[in-house]
Subunit: 175 residues, 2 copies
DNA sequence: TTGGATATGTAAACATCGTCAACACCCGGA
DNA sequence: TCCGGGTGTTGACGATGTTTACATATCCAA
């Protein structure tokens, strides 16, 4: 529910909750644990957002999942940044890496199925790696405002994402 | 030259330089300006790294540039994170967005040429957007240690990058 | 040669931050 | 009844970014 950024202070959280600065330590080991918990909620929200669009023909599901991924990042920049922040020691929060799996699995499953039904060609694992990197990259560029010169439009995020995805899949798509 | 991370403190920099905590303010407006200057050096280093591999047939240049981009990120994580940090207000540092153009232009030029010579098919702008997003995404996944489950190998960064790029280009490549 | 501007540094202070230790309260079960 | 766990507070510590006032060094012009 709290879609903040990385610059969220522990004290600020306490302030907004109307408690003293030390109160959060009754619930979280430290600031990183607090942020980690928020990131965990983010992964669940992402999963929900992906599930919501995961329907139709496999090839369409791949497209929709990719677009939804980028749209989620644009709509919840704080969460997204937090979820993939390098400042969160992955090793210290196994729940985080666990929570990050379902979203990925949805994409992997859709691609696998698309390949199985002959709607995509190529190695499913390679395709998944590629698609994942692609949407992750678009998301980051949109969030950072970079790629503005590259024609990555921050207004029509969904359209831009769809276009990029199509460009990548055009060769792998069976006519 | 200083390939640090985002967690570089202004005081820490001063300490390492053997000066007082306030000394940096003689050279930079604030911490963000300092980091921005470091990021600027990073963009120049990236440009140099890309130029160094920008030779051969256009289609090979595209591949080499993409791989070099990811390898740069892996070899200079601090710089890379800094260069694309969301915490650096792009608008306040026009030199930064200016410095970020050359690396992109190299890729755009290689793709344009590859299309012109019939080694790639598709709209050059679309292809560039896609390729840029792709390598940017791989770089971030490698740096963050995410995508480990996705088979994004952090040991053989160059090999992984090449594979992802090939997967994306296979359809756009004229046999 | 002298004098003043310019560049660079320092020390001291301020507000803020993450964190911890000691203490206080409330409330449910023996 | 009491007492123990969950939750909160106060106050402090060290660290940070930043500002202000003050010092020094360097170098060019009168």
């Amino acid at each position: 529910m709290l879609d903040e950024g990385l610059d969220v202070g522990l004290r600020a959280v306490a302030r907004r909750a109307g408690v003293s600065p030390a109160a959060p330590y009754r619930h979280f080991a430290d600031k990183e644990a607090l942020l980690s918990a928020a990131a965990l909620e983010g992964f669940d929200a992402l999963r929900a957002a992906l599930v919501a669009v995961d329907e139709g023909a496999p090839i369409e599901r791949v497209r929709a999942l990719g677009v939804a991924y980028v749209v989620f990042a644009a709509e919840h920049p704080g969460w997204f940044r937090l979820m993939f922040s390098d400042q969160l020691e992955r090793a210290r929060h196994p729940a985080l890496v666990r929570a990050s799996r379902p979203p990925f699995s949805l994409l992997a499953a859709a691609i696998r199925e698309a390949v199985a039904r002959g709607q995509l060609r190529g190695d499913p694992r390679d395709l998944t790696r590629m698609a994942w990197s692609l949407v992750h990259g678009v998301a980051h560029l949109v969030l950072g405002g970079q790629g503005r010169g590259a024609g990555i439009d921050e207004e029509d995020v969904a359209g831009t994402a769809a276009r990029v995805i199509d460009t990548a899949l055009v060769g792998a798509t069976r006519a």
